[in-house]
């Protein structure tokens, strides 16, 4: 009878641990949203940070975060997708392929601060550009390249073989098959993967403090000239993102309500994590039904 009792106890312990995990997440989310509740309004989301007086917002950092996501995806997607196509379709089991695989793994395991320092050295110092948004986007792109390559490779590999064979049988070349058949079929996997990487970029900070910097110029949101230093569209301006902003407020917050501002910003970040997750789930399901036809 004794093993049965231990079995029951073990099962109970497993249930408790699982419950604790869920409780922990609920606690985190509730705590952040509760602490930041007074700041979850439009004014906070749109107005500029103020380091001297209370009442500053997170408008520019929030915009910078989104801008870096867009820029880095524009850089990573073509490169990562191409490399993924190569690995899934063309790579033969040679030394070169092994080497690429090792490099993908090596890049993926590098601490983001090391990649940030590389970006600092190359894009900020060697080019003489100084801290700027583009350097940040490039650094984050290096961080995401292995992830997107892997996602692309997996989603292309997961396309049923019969689909590919049908296309080749019709006389299409390998490349035509990839572009017209395999990539469209792989879109559901690609999109969910992209949303997840976007979420990562959105919260990244360690790679950005050395590349896009920890401060920004005041922005004029009516200025659409990308060459102007006050224009939000200018990629060559220093820019603090939301995550960097939270980190900075902790180390050098000078505003009287710095604590509240960081609480509000953290609440915004954790809400976006939920939004990214739910969006990837819904969109993934929708696209899967649409492209795979299993509605």
């Amino acid at each position: 009878m004794k093993p049965r009792v231990t079995d029951k106890i073990a099962t109970a312990v497993f249930y408790i641990i699982a419950a604790l995990l869920i409780l922990l997440l609920v606690l985190f989310a509730a705590y952040l949203i509760y602490q930041g509740r007074s700041r979850l309004n439009l004014h906070f989301l749109t107005s500029a940070p103020n380091s001297l007086e209370a009442g500053g917002g997170i408008g520019p950092p929030l915009f910078n975060s989104i801008y870096i996501v867009v820029l880095s995806l524009a850089i990573t997607l073509p490169i990562g997708l191409s490399a993924g196509i190569y690995m899934a379709e063309y790579a033969k089991p040679t030394r070169l392929t092994k080497m690429i695989r090792f490099c993908i793994e090596a890049l993926a395991s590098l601490p983001s601060i090391v990649i940030g320092l590389f970006g600092f050295l190359i894009f900020v110092q060697k080019t003489g550009w100084g801290f700027n948004l583009l350097s940040g986007a490039l650094a984050v792109s290096i961080l995401n390249l292995p992830v997107i390559t892997r996602i692309s490779e997996d989603s292309i590999r997961n396309v049923p073989h019969s689909v590919k064979e049908a296309s080749l049988a019709l006389g299409a070349t390998h490349w035509q098959t990839i572009v017209r058949v395999l990539i469209p079929c792989a879109i559901p996997g690609l999109v969910t993967g992209l949303i997840i990487t976007s979420g990562r970029v959105f919260g990244e900070a360690a790679a950005l403090i050395f590349t896009s910097g920890v401060s920004g110029y005041p922005l004029d949101f009516t200025n659409f000239n990308p060459m102007d230093s006050s224009s939000p569209l200018n990629p060559m301006r220093p820019a603090e993102t939301l995550a960097v902003f939270i980190w900075k407020v902790n180390s050098e917050g000078t505003a009287p309500d710095a604590r509240l501002v960081a609480d509000g910003a953290s609440a915004v970040l954790i809400i976006s994590v939920f939004v990214f997750n739910i969006a990837s789930r819904i969109l993934g399901k929708y696209l899967n039904n649409k492209f795979a036809g299993n509605s």
């Binding site: 079995d7 090792f102 993908i104 890049l107 601490p111 292995p146 919260g203």
Partner: protein, 316 residues
Amino acid sequence: MSKPNKRKITSHYIKTELLGKSLVTFFGIFLIILTISLVFFIASQGLSTFILDKQSPLKFLFSSKWDPLRDLSKGGPAIGALVFIFGSISVSSLALLISTPFSVAISVFMSEISPKFGKKILQPVIEIFVGIPSVVYGWIGLTLLVPFISKLTLTIPFIDKDINTTGKSLLTGGLVLSIMIFPTIASISYDALKALPKDFKEASFALGATRWQTIRKVLIPAALPGMLTGVVLGLARAFGEALAVQMVIGNNILFPKSIFDRANTMTSVITMEMGNAVSGTLEANALWSLAFLLLLISFLFIVIIHKIGAKGSFIK
């Protein structure tokens, strides 16, 4: 008739096949170029401490005196990084110690106890934990955990009266990190358990073993190599994490006396100092050496994972 691989190079063929193929091949090779240039540039900066500044690599690794700006009259600059290396190792091990049992338990729960609940609820929960940015973990640690640990150290009577009561400590860093690395270990352990053949479980049940006996005596040992991979990846993640740790560990350039004492890590000191260090000076170079060391360690972790993978391949 022409076989596909003996196709004539016509302009049509170039347009429909060769161009695309060359393009994607180039980007595949680009990943190698990127990795090599990354290693090259970080190494050349990191090694200049030893080559240009003539510092001893042994002193860098094994001395604990870190004062890169010290005057020549006081003995010249010292760049012993042992305190940071020790801090990184201890905070990561601590995180691993806390996180591993829970992570393995969760993976067992998801694969053996309640797969349906695991897939529907726990998997999304784990994904959200992955998605939470490290600064947010740091901020929660700073505003929730640090005051709590501070109170804890104040209430528990210690013999040592000089105990650090700020709440920023090795323990706080370890706790924050343990939550951050938990999804890595849990999801890889889960994959390892899932990959086991069904026969293992069925054979064990057929012998009359209970579920717990099966889990403890059959499933976990069989999935151990995969789980170890998860543990090493978790360790790698903990080692490389910068901002969350920096926010809660206290950043004290002395060896911590206990887990309640403040500490410092390699990533933390880079985060704090690199912005102020003038490039080309010994201080900046020494920080680059730390970054290079981080890079080497993360490569070492990959090698270890491959070794584990090769050993564990008997399951498949």
